[in-house]
Symmetry: C2
Subunit: 397 residues, 2 copies
């Protein structure tokens, strides 16, 4: 145990990203390992939001719309673009992930006329499956949930679109975006990637891989705040043919002309729907400034090291008491999931001891490691706390 503590100290001392933790407003008493559910607040957000309310809203009033607000969805999109390998003009931030999934899936089905199936990873985050089910009903297609390792067997000339998660929210397994995209394209279908658990985790190459559409949330590793608006990616070569169903005035070619007929904007703005939610959008904009000058290769290296070190601590301190569900090779995001029949109660007791992870039904303890602010010391303390709780329970405390 002492050895692990010493190693954690050494790893933290040598960490090239350690300076970033000071950018976050974190309670020093707490070990926060749930940044894959809700990222921690970057310090600058609180003041920025206050300033937006007092100055932009209070003093400039309606004038702020043309001055800076109306184009915020595109402007904030440009700050996320480099994190997902997208050249400018292809991302917009607005609405929730579920709403953007709906836009993307209907848009994708319309890009594949005559094809009748929407394929979705059967272990997907539920909202993805629910939205896909609704899109199938509205577009007269059929929803086909499949296990990821059976993808090859179901793709064919009836496949319109395939909705995939880059990282499995439960196990933390990372899928090979290049290989899966290629297979979907070989079948002549469109792929929609859900990047909720991978944006801000590792370098993503949407443009280079020829991904058709992607969506992702901004409140996990991007630290945008609770329910912060999500992003949608539509590459240049698909924009002209992309027709999404939430055709609000925000996506119109000339919104303030108040024209009676809908005519989609020529670029990525056509992925917008209604009036954008400015307070949340500008909170997110402030939060994203933390990424300026950060190299995603460093982030990825630290994320793998943190999760790897945590698994080592678990092995040493917990042994067979829990099962490590997350892949031990490089095919994982920045989370480690442990299986234990008492997972719910264990997570609650860890929280009572100020180590915050989360519980995913029925038996998973899930810990997220955010390289911008998680330390090796955090990883070590989390494993030790879990070990202490199990020891206390065994001793009948």
């Amino acid at each position: 145990m002492t050895d692990l503590t010493e190693r954690a100290s050494k790893l933290d001392a040598e960490d090239p990203l350690a300076y970033l933790r000071a950018e976050f407003d974190l309670d020093p008493a707490v070990v926060y390992l749930d940044g894959n559910s809700l990222g921690a607040p970057p310090r600058r957000v609180a003041d920025r939001v206050g300033e937006v309310v007092r100055e932009q809203w209070g003093r400039r009033l309606i004038r702020s719309w043309p001055e800076s607000w109306w184009t915020a969805p595109e402007r904030v999109g440009e700050k996320i673009a480099p994190l997902v390998g997208a050249a400018p003009g292809q991302l917009v931030v607005a609405d929730s992930t579920s709403v953007n999934l709906f836009k993307a899936l209907v848009g994708a089905v319309r890009l594949a006329p005559g094809r009748r199936e929407i394929v979705v990873d059967a272990a997907t985050f539920p909202t993805d499956g629910y939205i896909a089910e609704s899109v199938a009903e509205l577009t007269g297609t059929v929803l086909r949930p499949v296990a990821m390792d059976e993808l090859d067997y179901v793709l064919g000339d009836q496949t319109a679109v395939v909705l995939l998660n880059h990282v499995d929210y439960r196990t933390g397994r990372l899928y090979d975006m290049a290989a899966a995209t290629e297979r979907v394209h070989e079948a002549g279908a469109r792929v929609v990637w859900d990047l909720c658990h991978s944006a801000g985790v590792l370098p993503i190459e949407l443009d280079a891989l020829g991904v058709d559409l992607a969506v992702g949330c901004t409140y996990k590793f991007l630290n945008g705040g609770p329910g912060a608006p999500a992003f949608i990616y539509v590459p240049h070569d698909l924009q002209e043919s992309f027709r999404q169903p939430l055709s609000g005035w925000g996506g119109h070619r000339d919104p303030f002309a108040m024209a009676p007929a809908y005519e989609p904007a020529p670029g990525i703005a056509r992925a917008r729907a209604g009036t954008p939610d400015i307070l949340s959008l500008l909170a997110l904009e402030a939060a994203l400034e933390v990424w300026d000058g950060v190299d995603l290769d460093d982030v990825r290296a630290k994320g793998l090291a943190l999760t790897g070190f945590f698994m080592e601590c678990v092995d040493e301190l917990l042994g067979d008491a829990v099962e490590v569900v997350t892949p031990r090779d490089g095919n994982r995001g920045h989370q480690v999931s442990l299986r234990h029949p008492g997972a719910g109660a264990l997570v609650a007791e860890m929280t009572a001891r100020e180590v915050i992870g989360d519980f995913r039904t029925p038996d998973v303890l899930r810990f997220g490691f955010a390289p911008l602010y998680t330390t090796y010391g955090d990883a070590c303390r989390a494993a030790r706390t879990l070990s202490d709780i199990l020891a206390d329970a065994a001793a009948g405390h």
Copy 2:
């Protein structure tokens, strides 16, 4: 002119709602008559949002979701409910107006199987028409735009749903919700009311009139902030049969069970879609506290008096130089629209002189009167400023 100024002072001195202006953070140098586009910030919002970021997000972190965030859409809905005549459990706040229109219209079409037409006011705010067009395409119905005074002639056994604006955004005309709802129901169709320009303006009786569905924004007379989330109303008797297409996990019966199949929540929660946008939602919650103890009859009386007084000022100071488009009888919201061929330039020059209204293409100057903070003095100064500008122009300044 002096007489008008004196009358304005007297009216302000006698105004029973005058005390509310102090609740708003307004620049004393500015006359703000655009609260029908973006309401002014209630003072308490800036601090509340800072507190949400620092305390609820920063200190409680993920624990805030079960503690207070997850149910915020319903909780904030309950604060709006009395303003629109809805008993508890029928409103939810989340997503933009456009997105909620989409939910409502698809839901309404599904309530009227076998009927093939969506009827919409031809002069509707554009986003309503755009969304209705998209819903028609997805549901295999036909969109039929009609002038409001021809509504009687088009309703019939093919009408599935009628989407109506309570107040015309351009002219300020208020429609008779009771009469129109009754006519739609006589035809066996469903009515969806857009309350964007009437929520916070006058007592609305959604429950008493048997309205089927309604949506409205919160950033105009409800002062929720730029792009604040909108509300949707689904009455108790329709909730069980209401099936909306944005079936994200937020509307699921048991969201955290992460069940593979979508099962809508039993109550109004089924109108929710994805993860709610908390910063904006809680800013709105703070903004709505300004309404505590306010009687909507007083608000309506002052709104009619303010707009009436402004029209008097316009008549006296501007004569035939502008055309008053807004009805002079009681059938108006809290706005006055004036027509002038140089409307765009006039609004710009008024803004330069710190009197803020807005321009609606091609020739409308639009002024909103928010009884919680607009004064009779504001109305008088606005008319005088416009008169001065026209006089300066005539004198070749």
